[in-house]
């Protein structure tokens, strides 16, 4: 149980504190506007594989998530977002007796809702600079009480955290006709519930999107292809069980993503792969192999 509880819940880390719906980065937010009265919908599939196990239990952890995001422009400066994840989680490991066991669950995870407000904007011909803080709550909508033949599922397989977790941050965006840069700093406080508490998560994310096509813009150009490169620096504190920190959890990771986006006035189609560039995790915390993402966005 100690080994199982020692997992870093890297999905929460790697999937991001918030999936943006507006045009922009794949793993983080942008400060670009959602027009007043406009809706932006995003669907993203995320596949997460972890198998580099320093504990000797040969843990193999798969997470597949289909995340739906809906954004709405209350005003040109204030946008509201909701994120609803459907997840499938599976953990295979060698039990103390030597048998290989599989533990899994699927269903709705914890829903997130947040607001973003543009506090500074400077528009110029063909470019814009914006600053927007955001804040929200992760609701305990995912089931964390599921059991199987071995008893209650361990935290890495549970769909929810049972806790109301606040988060917030600041986004800075610089966009031109040729490229876009987004930088985000954020923090999520994970609250104790049912005697268990995930470590708090602090992140620094950066995204660069470069227009690859067309090489030269025409007067009627209405579609771009962007190459996307992102970095995610993530630190998670140690998990706590009944107030006692688990030394086999938490740590710092740096992720890199390469991806592509096809962008038109009404839709975006995108895909990317994240690889860990550095993982400094505590003791036997399970290390991640890769994260693959793909999806689309629509506005209406």
């Amino acid at each position: 149980m100690k080994r199982i509880a020692g997992f870093t819940i890297a999905f929460l880390i790697a999937a991001g504190t918030s999936l943006p719906a507006t045009p922009a980065p794949i793993t983080t937010n942008t400060a670009l506007p959602v027009a007043k009265g406009e809706y932006v919908f995003r669907q993203q599939a995320i596949f997460n594989q972890s198998g580099d196990d320093p504990s000797g239990a040969r843990r193999d952890h798969h997470v597949a998530v289909s995340a739906s995001v809906l954004g709405y422009g209350v005003t040109a400066d204030l946008a509201l977002f909701g994120v609803a994840p459907l997840a499938y989680k599976k953990l295979r490991m060698t039990a103390p007796g030597g048998a290989r066991v599989t533990r899994e669950d699927s269903g709705l995870g914890d829903i997130r809702a947040f607001a973003r407000y543009t506090v500074y904007k400077r528009d110029m011909p063909g470019r814009t600079f914006r600053i927007a803080p955001f804040a929200g709550i992760e609701f305990p909508t995912g089931d964390d009480t599921a059991t199987d033949a071995l008893g209650r599922l361990p935290p890495p397989v549970r769909l929810g955290s049972r806790s109301w977790d606040p988060f917030g941050g600041l986004i800075v965006t610089w966009q031109t006709l040729d490229y876009q840069i987004d930088v985000q700093a954020s923090y999520q406080a994970n609250i104790e519930a049912g005697g268990f508490e995930f470590g708090d998560v602090a992140r620094l994310d950066g995204s660069l999107q470069v227009r690859l096509w067309p090489g030269e813009l025409g007067d009627d150009t209405s579609a771009f292809v962007y190459g996307v490169a992102e970095l995610n620096l993530i630190n998670q504190g140690k998990n706590r069980m009944s107030g006692v920190a688990n030394p086999d959890s938490g740590g710092t990771a740096l992720w890199g993503l390469l991806g592509l986006q096809y962008v038109t006035p009404r839709r975006i189609i995108e895909a990317g792969v994240q690889l860990p560039l550095m993982q400094d995790l505590n003791r036997t915390a399970l290390q991640r192999d890769y994260i693959a993402r793909g999806g689309f966005r629509l506005n209406f």
């Binding site: 507006t22 045009p23 670009l32 506007p33 959602v34 027009a35 007043k36 009265g37 406009e38 422009g73 005003t75 040109a76 400066d77 543009t118 904007k121 528009d123 110029m124 011909p125 063909g126 470019r127 814009t128 966009q175 031109t176 006709l177 876009q180 813009l217 025409g218 007067d219 009627d220 150009t221 209405s222 579609a223 771009f224 962008v263 038109t264 006035p265 009404r266 839709r267 975006i268 966005r297 506005n299």
Partner: protein, 98 residues
């Protein structure tokens, strides 16, 4: 007034009246620039805000030039204030309205 002059007046006045009426009813085209617009996905917000204005017949947006061309239905017009509000509600800045 002699007869030729009368004939001229009788022709001139209706022609001028007709010309004035035609001008009032012809479709108007307005152009303006939008600062801050730099990607296709953002242009939809501008289009949606402008389409909500009564009388708008068609909209053409050039992302490269940052220009918007709005064609109004005959007999309607777009004011600078209304266009400016639509662009602000889209999250951008308007200038050089014509």
């Amino acid at each position: 007034m002699n007869t030729p002059r009368k004939c001229l007046l009788l022709l001139f006045v209706p022609v001028m009246l007709l010309a004035g009426t035609f001008q009032a009813w012809a479709a108007r085209v307005h152009t303006f620039r939008v600062d801050g617009l730099a990607c296709p996905f953002c242009s939809y917000g501008i289009e949606k805000q402008l389409k909500a204005i009564a009388g708008v017949s068609s909209i053409k947006i050039s992302i490269k030039n940052g220009t918007v061309t709005v064609t109004m239905k005959a007999g309607t017009r777009l004011t600078r204030a209304r266009a400016g509000q639509a662009v602000r509600d889209a999250g951008f800045t308007m200038r050089d309205f014509r």
